[in-house]
Amino acid sequence: MLEPINISLESLNLITLFPMLVPVIGALLIILIDIIKGGLDKTLFVALSILFLFIDFNAVLSSASTFVTDGTVMGVFDMMLIDGLAILAQLIIVGASVFFLPLVISGKSFHESSTPEYFALFLFMIAGLQFMVATDSLILIFVGLETSSLAIYTLIAMHNRDKSFEAAVKYFSMGALAAGFYSFGSMVFYALTGSVEINQIASVLAANNYADIGFVLVGTAFMLAAFGFKVALVPFHTWAPDIYEGSSAAMAGFLSIVPKIALFVVIMRLFEFLIHSGVIWLEIVLYIIVVLTMTMSNMWALVQTDVKRMLAYSSISHAGFVMAAILIGTTQSNTALFLYWILFSATNLGAFGMLWMSRQKELLAGQSSDHSYEKFSGMIQTNPVAAMIMGLFMLSLAGLPPFALFWGKLYLISSAVTAGYTVLALVMALNSAIAGYYYIKLIVYMFMKEPLEQNDGTIIVGNSSLVVKSIIGFATIGTIFAIFAVSPLLEFITAFVYNSGY
């Protein structure tokens, strides 16, 4: 007979659940409202979602202040793990979402925005991602991951056109395969250590002195494949360009930022201890993957004719950069990862926002994709301000100082240098140079070519609205004046990462 368990409510630390519950409640509320009275305007749902995200953000902030005073907090039968990484990741997830979501209030009406479920799913997805980062149990990670993934598949498909479905189906199928890999990998670790909690796994493996290295490697291999797929590392990246192209630009931008940071945190949790415990194999394989990811995706980005696909490949490349931070695995590099990602978010928000603003419902004559380079040609003549802003984002993505992403790159490369990864630092630097080409290509089109005949400048801002413009404006300011934010960010992040033991 099992003993009844007595647990005091305080010991559960239910407060740790609070940030995740906020979007869940928000989502349910939205569904409820829709059931009670249908046909309400999207602005209401956007406002509600933003509201809940704000509350969420504040909740995370309050857990951040708890972290500052109490350090890492475990909760709900030690299932929740609120450490610095979790908080940072949640801040990025929720913060970035606040900016990406309102993009649906655009000048033109697209399918997803008219559906209240879109916002519900969006909030569920946020909740799923939050759960994912705030735990070290492989089970909760898996469930959170699937929650968000399933929501994302639907969100992509809700754009409701052939390419979106195609994208969703592709993403889904590959996601299912990755889920298989993930569960297999977890199984191996479980078999080895009898636990599915990363800390536990780490301590057991360390206690065994990595006796079953073969098993560990097999598990790591499967995990690497699964995570590699999720954050789009070469050769698991093949979904990314198609999915970006198929989704709306706003969604693509979101995909390039938010889910990935959650994954990075998980990867960091899982791989960091493996790398530090001298699993040289992982270091070598990660090294190869990182270099491949950065380099190959850059080369593919070179040959793209569509800006969104180009940005997709560029996002892959940036993910490679960030993986390098995990490979390096020092406090500085982990700090750099978050810094990089925050700055990358600001820039990518702007870049995809601009694409979104230029979205038209029908393809231009002679164009096969939404955002071909030609569409932007001669923008300096038709929409000078828009051209300059877009150019700014491109320069930032290229890592040109003093724009946002440069500082991330700087700190990241510096962490490589500090940790003795000289060659890696050089590879990163040279890849930035290669990347320069395709970002500059867009600038070339915008600033140095004549506009298409059919393009009188309205196309570029065809989908604009005050909201979209404000968000882009915010991204612009963020990108230009990033330098002033870097110092406080750096201190903040360093404190959180360092105190979480990474």
Binding site: G399, W407, I413, V417, A425, A429, F447, M448, V486
Partner: protein, 516 residues
Amino acid sequence: MLDNILSILIFFPAVAGIFGFMIQKDSMRAYGVSVATIEFALSLWLWFSFDSDASGMQFMEQVPLIEAFGISYIVGIDGISLFIVVLAAFFTMIGIASLSDTKNVKNMIITLLMLQMTMVGVFVALDAILFYVFWELSLVPMLYIIGAWGGPLRIYASVKFFLYTFAGSLVMLVGMLFMAYFYYQATGVWSFAILDWHRLILPENFQLWLFLAFFIGFAVKVPMFPFHTWLPYAHGQAPTIGSVILAAILLKMGTYAFIRFSLPLFPDAATFFMFPIAILAIIMIVYTAMVAYAQEDIKQVVAYSSVSHMGVIILGIFALNVEGITGSIFLMIAHGVVSGALFLLVGVIYDRRHTKQMSEFGGLASVMPRYATIFGLMLMASVGMPLTINFVGEFLSLIGFYQQSHTLTLLAGMAIIVGAIYMLSAYKKMFFGEVTNEKNKNLPDLSKRELLALIPLSVITIWLGIYPKPVLDPINNSVESVVQLMHDKSITDEAKSRIPNLVKDIVITRTSKEAQ
């Protein structure tokens, strides 16, 4: 105001540029000229307030930006950078004033003002990252200028220019990060301040690698053989104003950076690489001069001549003594003036005929005597005629390097021969002979606006050729402190013997911290 004059110099054009968006199109040129003139006046004021006898940095400003990572906004100026800043302001002014009627003149002027910000920034930055920021940022306006107003191959040329320099400087960035890391290791504090770095003594093998990393960044910019091929394209395709600024100021960033970074940071590596670099410089001098001789396009001749002259500058820098370095800095200014003027002159004829092929011309001396005269003057300055500005620089650079190697100086001295060959033959093709082409028969001579730009340049060319003292003195003082620093810092015997010790009687004890 004098306390913040450098920041004002940097950001005034940028702010003015942003305000420029509001200016009505027709008044834009007037606006641009006035802004540039104010900037130039400010730079002159800087010069007059500059204490020529001091060797250290002046007008320093320091604001921490990223304290945890040691990045600060530090600006300051010494004799090495002072005149390039003045020159940058001067050329922007002249450039805007002489701007012929181009499309989108508003964009052009705003771009030029932005470019000016980056140019001034590079030369006054005393923080490596700040330097890097301006260094990279300067590529963008230039990219736009070449790409939007250039010739038929403009996009290829501009992208090549951008990417080549960008790639090179990223390697340099890695070097900077290493340097900061070594500083961190030695002191426990992150710092990118150049003056802090100057105190750091690195082991020789570190120096060698870091020197190479910095070298790649600088060499592409200079541009040194074999990294020079972007330059002919950039010059060939750029509009006149682009070429002028590129040749006069932007190329100097590389050579300036050698003096600011490579020499004082890595004196032993500089000694170690002195001969290889000198050989590269000689190849630059002779080889590119020969290539220039083979050109059919007058602008390409001037472009390649730039490379050739930059070779002399490099040689002077790696003389590692006061004479050579002072000479090379002076030659930077001189080459700025002269090649800037030459590009302006090429622009004059291009405006009239829309071709730069020398075969299209001939006998212009009788059609455009004033033009021919000023061109001739600049030509003579370019080939290093004494009493013109170039000679002082070349003479000092070569005499400086002569201390290090006699044979190499002899080879490098061929600059005065090969330079004369291509320049004179180009001049002959364009200006001498009968006027054969009908289209050339009635070309108007220099207009007032063109003279406005060219006469000051001519005056400077002669004036500084005869009386370089006001410029040489401040340079000399600053260079002496650099050379002394190098001597004190150097650890190998080779470097100790190659780099002269200026303080003869005082025995210097090394107090700086050694990198662990």
